[in-house]
Amino acid sequence: MSVIKVNNLSKVFGKKTKEALSLLDEGYKKEEILKKTGCTVGVNRASFEVEEGEVFVIMGLSGSGKSTLVRLLNRLIDPTEGDVEVGGENLAKVGKERLRKVRREKMSMVFQKFGLFPFRTVLENTEFGLEIQGINKEERANKAKEALELVGLGSFIHQYPDQLSGGMQQRVGLARALANDPEVLLMDEAFSALDPLIRKDMQDELLDLQEKMQKTIIFITHDLDEALRIGDRIALMKDGSIVQIGTPEEILVNPANDYVERFVEDVDRSKVLTASHIMKRPETVDIEKHGPRVALERIREQGLSSIYVVDRSKQLKGYVIAEDVKAAREKEEKDLHTILRTDMPTVGLEAPIHEIFEIIHDAPVPVAVVEEGKLKGIIVRGAVIAALANGSGVTEDA
């Protein structure tokens, strides 16, 4: 179900907005309209839908209208034209009171420069949204602490923002947004002000959190690597218009036009990277020792949907999927032989990435990297895409 539905949404900054809109209809470009009317086109007829639980990335160069677009979603900026439906309600048309309620309960925002209040402690910052809603002190402290635990700042609650590093400050920003338990998170270049390494950590952490919480996230970035790493779908913006919407694969494989192509062309470093660069340590069970009980435990612990099966000498035997394991456990079976599947995709250590990219597409489980029959590692879809994107390919836990 789509949580956000944007239809024909436009924002023109300036006085002669009507004139500018009709010039847009006639096909004039952003610069020409600026010259003719003095108006800046911020967003031009954007339409898209965001599904529940999706990470929807809006990407584009600086000035392409990303910040404007995201602010149209919670109406920090009033649209010139068009509709923004959130949970079936057109925010472009609601009154102030109602808009406030939506902002308090449904959508929270994370800011590029963190937007923390310097005179409030970490805890007080995190409580802000709850305080605004008039929630009592005890309850809001509890919820805020929970959110801070979630982002790993449980022991910093009495510090002030300027005592924390950038990465930690943005965790507070994230916790503040999460404390409200909103349906939608709006993140405007939330990680752009951070150092590259910290930025990657934050991306991973966001993905981890997302796995647990399944929020709908609108994530703005000017960075393709970041977009590919965290986006379920990506919308590419140029001069206020959305030029392509698609999954990371679609954007990489079928760029809609020259603009997108130029964006992705220096991404093609895939040929120099191989499976060994991007695989990570596999989670396994030993078919000779372990039965359904252990398999189920590991699957649950790690939040997996399947797990690879090896023997004592690490020879790859196959894999089992969560459902089968559960069923086997209920039937109190003692070993994994009956439910073992063997249709997993396998590659060698030296397999180039573009090859993996092709087979990972419709693989039911992560790709197994095998040498002399032994399971050396596994490769998940995200790692391939990230590697295609940034070429480094070294995953943190490899």
Partner: protein, 278 residues
Amino acid sequence: MLDFIPKIPLADWVNTAVERIQDTFEFIFDPIKEDFGGFVESTAEWLSQIPPILVIIIVALMTFFVSGKKFGLSIFAIVGLWFVYNQELWEQLMYTFTLVVFASLISIIIGIPAGIWMSKSKWAQAIITPILDFMQTMPAFVYLIPAVVFFGIGMVPGIFASVVFATPPVVRFTNLGIRQVSAELVEAADAFGTTGSQKLFKVELPMARKTIMAGVNQTVMLALSMVVIASMIGSPGLGDEVLTALQRSQEGPGFVAGLGIVILAIIIDRVSQNLNKG
């Protein structure tokens, strides 16, 4: 050539206007003069009756804690206040202090809301800015005239003139402080669904606090600078001593009373600045 219009009777008009105001608002001015005046007088008297040693101890303790537990200011306060007492100017000091406190409080009570209003509305800004310019450029003596007309002589007209003279900085700084709050913080407040007053009290005023306090400091100093002028319309205190000395060409007593004002100014200034830091 230039005489094509006879002298415009602006002065007469102002006279008439002031008379009108006086008549129309007598019901306000009179109680202010009587009741408020009485209150101010008795406050000053009450302060003068507290044993000076007690006052000195209290001030010393207060300056000690306000300045972050440093001794410098406290020592200055003890010596300075003792000196004023020694010069037999203690009662005058209490009157001057009372005048400054009341004038500052009224300036702040009027000035901060005015500054807030100014920061929120283009219109208010457009209207208030020239009024502030006018208030600050008009020589302070001019305010004595309506002050006397409305409130007679004594402490109340002194406070009135001081308020007119001292209010502009706190208004300007409040306006400035709120307008300077970074756009991202204002956005953050909006994005979490604040109402106007939540935004003001939970984000804008706390963020603007330092700037506003700088304005308050200036306002207090301006109020203090009015004490000599206010004494011309019968406000008692150190200013009155200076004025008397001036009229009689007595350098010595004039200097001593002036020094008393300086001591008070330094203590008040440091205290209000340190409050700002804390």
